[in-house]
């Protein structure tokens, strides 16, 4: 039973948002892991091999897109699915994220139901 649960890694520094996402994901029976900055996030991806990564663009010290780029540049991690979490709804920014290899893009403020739907879809793909 446990093996069928998918793991989602969230890279997000804000404790309130991460608790919210954790709550919603766990409600929907996903395994959850959290890292608060880019460097430890990258390490966690290598260690845990999550089924999906939710990556916030506004991380404390580094641009989330840089982390995305690093993920794509690493041959080992290349096929990990990533959903970007961003405050910008501008087309330019969405395009940049997709060009760098994001699977999906969620704009803040978001509806939690929508988040869950996209998570489900990304994992099932």
């Amino acid at each position: 039973m446990d093996q069928n649960r998918s793991t989602v890694l969230l890279i997000e520094d804000d404790p309130v948002i991460s608790k919210l996402i954790e709550f919603k994901l766990k409600r929907n029976n996903y395994k959850f892991a959290l890292r608060e900055n880019g460097t430890s996030g990258l390490e966690a991806i290598k260690e845990l091999r999550p089924d999906l990564v939710i990556l916030d663009i506004m991380l404390p010290s580094v641009n989330g897109l840089e982390i995305l780029r690093k993920i794509r540049e690493d041959k080992e991690l290349d096929n990990i699915r990533v959903i970007m979490l961003s405050a910008s709804m501008k087309m330019k920014d969405k395009k940049q994220a997709f060009v760098l290899g994001a699977h999906d893009y969620i704009v803040k403020p978001f509806e939690t139901e929508e988040l869950i739907m996209r998570v489900k879809k990304s994992i099932e793909d």
């Binding site: 309130v16 948002i17 919210l20 709550f23 403020p109």
Partner: protein
Amino acid sequence: MLLTLVDLEMESAMQLLIMVTALLTLATFLLFTITVSMRLRRNWQHKKMKEYRDLYLPLIFDYLEGNVELSTFQNLIGSDELKFRTFEDTVIKLIKNVEGEEAKKLKKALMLKSLYRFHLKQLKSDSDELIIDGCNYFRYTNIANDQVIGILEKLLHSKNTYLAFSAASALMASDTLRNRMYALEIFAKRKGITKMALLELFWRFKRDHKGQNVEEAEFLKALISDDNLTSKKRTLLIQAVSESNYYLMIKPLQDWLESNEDRWKEPGVLSALIDAQRIFLNSEATESIKTYLQYPDQKVRKVAHEAILVLDQQFIYKKAIA
């Protein structure tokens, strides 16, 4: 005589020396005491706030799912300032990131009696900082109370720009269009505000990304044509309206482009109007724009050229699919 003079000088010199040394020792002592006590207090506060937050968050999530009542929070928090500050910060953090039904519920949660009363008192105080603090709270609630609205509207006229801006921001949270219109209008006509502040308020004035409101459009039409507006602000509002896809404004924008009134002929305003036609793909304005291709102002010519390029394509496309 000289000796006593020297003695006098020496004495006052000594006194000054002793006084400064004493002050210095006192200052050093104060430094350490302040450091230690402030740090201790701060550490304690942070620990407490984290405790409260860890306690409230799961309850808030349960509340969002419908399993917990608002009264639970009221009982938990009471009037303890540290507690309700934590609660407030946490809920506002969530509101900033969440939308839809859950955001509505969160806004309701924010209207807890103790919070509401506390911040209303701040609004009525004399200190600018406290008022701003109060405005920042009301920004995240659905203001329906006439008293609050009345105070905020008065604050819009304050001499302090920061204050007026935070009051305007707070009014933008109201679901009643009338309040938002009033705030935007008064703030737009203020002297000495920057384009960016106006732009920021405009984005908060807009409600839905999808639906468009005839009343809003009427208001914007009146505001943009208002005589009291400077050209720069007029330009900005036109640009903002185009960028945010207010399709109900297409007709007024075209009318202004074709009008002969002076206020629409200012180069900045004119460029914005032409550009608006391009953004809205309004091919009906093509002929009017063509008259500006040789206009004396360089910026206007450039914008007109770009617009024609796009609109001509549009025209060709329409013909192709006909």
